[in-house]
Symmetry: C2
Subunit: 334 residues, 2 copies
């Protein structure tokens, strides 16, 4: 199995310091995570949240490229409707070049109203903008000849895009998907898929089934490494601790959903108020909470479903990563 990380640095307005490490704790954690054997760090990108969320993921990955050597550097995700597709292709290629070919480029079409409103981009254009951008980005990375693009949202004339990527034909593309329909659509594009950490094990298994059957339907080989499953993790050694961790997770997830709405594929269905699709009910059943042995058992359940690529949500304490490395990962070494 492959274990990576998923998260983001935080720097709030009003809390800035004069030292050089506004994102310092996060950066130190990634450097140690590489040494502990984690194989990737996927970082978020959000705008206008007011909570200090990372907004320039490719800049932070450029910094990490300089101080790491093996860990894969991913975005989860770069929301394409916000970006000029040629500029983002150049920036991503630069990260790939600077990191010696370690970029995993995660892309999405966006879901937060606060971002669509902030950028003054109609939400109903998101899919069309996303699809046009993907086309331009791949062309930008792969074309050694000048080309034109005349699209609905963007036009470029007689361009050649530099620098070249190290990975050929281009860095792996990942995208987050939540509904069965969008999961099937990702399978058709040839990209890899990321599944969120909010969905219950039950819903997560359904999503894997959707991916497998979409692959079967189009003759795509099922490669478990192309399905990255995000999971929250909290290690607790007592019952008290477990209750507290559950409460904390519940509070955080509820706050996220209240503020930004549910993720696609997890909307509350009014006709099934108690279904897995209700995120309030899925909280306990989604995360990896408990003792190392309990977590090993939970991961084994995921492995039995067919998952072999887990991205742990970056925990509050680096000590959790040390325990995962020492006590959990060895159980899944082949």
């Amino acid at each position: 199995m492959k274990f990576g990380l998923f998260g983001g640095a935080v720097a709030r307005r009003g809390e800035e310091t004069a030292d050089s490490q506004g994102y310092g704790g996060f950066i130190d954690t990634v450097v140690e995570a590489e040494q502990l054997g984690f194989e990737s760090i996927f970082i978020v990108e959000h705008h206008f949240s007011g909570g200090g969320q990372l907004s320039s993921s490719l800049n932070l990955l450029s910094y990490l490229a300089a101080i790491t050597s093996t860990i894969r550097l991913g975005t989860a995700v770069t929301v394409l409707p916000w970006h000029n597709p040629v500029l983002i292709a150049e920036q991503a290629a630069t990260v790939d070049l600077l990191s010696g070919g370690r970029l995993d480029f995660g892309v999405g079409k966006g879901y937060r109203d606060i971002e669509f409103d902030g950028f003054c981009i109609p939400k109903e254009e998101s899919l069309a903008r996303y699809e046009e951008s993907i086309e331009v980005i791949i062309k930008s990375w792969t074309s050694n000849e000048r080309f034109d693009h005349n699209g609905k949202f963007w036009s470029f004339k007689d361009i050649i895009v530099e620098p070249p990527t190290i990975q050929k034909p281009h860095p792996p593309l990942w995208t987050a998907a939540g509904t069965d329909e969008s999961i099937a659509r990702v399978a058709e594009t040839g990209m890899s898929v990321m599944l969120d950490h909010f969905a219950s094990f039950e819903r997560t298994e359904e999503r894997l089934t959707a991916w497998r059957s979409a692959c079967d339907g189009i003759g795509r080989n099922f490669d478990p490494m192309e399905v990255a499953l995000a999971r929250g993790v909290t290690i607790t050694l007592t019952n008290d601790g477990l209750e507290k961790a559950t409460a904390i997770r519940e509070e955080r997830v509820s706050r996220m959903f209240d503020k930004f709405g549910a993720l696609p594929g997890l909307e509350k269905k009014s006709d099934q108020p108690d279904s897995y699709a209700n995120p309030d009910l899925a909280i306990d059943d989604a995360a990896l909470l408990g003792t190392p042995d309990m977590i090993i058992e939970r991961i084994q359940t995921l492995k039995d479903m067919g998952f072999e690529h887990i991205l742990f949500l970056l925990p509050d304490s680096v000590e959790t990563l040390r325990i995962i490395s020492k006590e959990i990962m060895p159980a899944f070494k082949s």
Copy 2:
């Protein structure tokens, strides 16, 4: 006096290697330059040239932020009409944060036809786009409250832009200017100014005069550190070497002007074919070519004009930087 550097990394299509250092030679040079006492590195940003020119300057600066500790990190310049002003404000703030407040943000309105055509942006919109972007960028950096922007080219609604910059109220803004009119306009904005390395000493002195009188006219204090003068430099120890260096410089400058047109303020004037404004004639008289003693004399001339902030065009060999550090800089230590 203050000495910095100006240049860019190159990575051409078809020359990529599997090693992690596509921009490696450039990166190594900057690290050594910091140790040699150079106080800044300003890097270019260009698109679609086909020659491997750096396109994502803020990503490369993010990488450099990780492996340097004192050298100022500048763009020269980020052409604002290509960029979403909020995204570029976020990216620049991220570099400022990652570098502990070492960003010098150089901005421009663009001059290359190949870039305006490539991005399908009419050249006649460049100044209006530039001015609108500056307004949005400064607001993004400095506003601790959510704001709206309804401009001619961009609209944003109810946004707050993160991360915060380290430098307050915001990173220094620089802009390149070439004509007397645009130099005066920069003085009025409160930004610092960069003067190109193509203009002859004579034209360069005129530009400084234009800056000084603009400052006088609006009651702005003249600070020589706010006027960065770029200069090509080649150290030669023989007459033969000097002739060769002159020929190389002549060939490069002519090729640049042929391909992209003359820079503003250096256009050939048809009624004055032999004036300083003819770049073909200004070549010998613009660069710093010769022995260390000859170059010290040339820099002294610039100092006597009032220049105290020189950016050397990054030379082909790092050995040149070592000689500058050892034999030229000490002559100007106060």
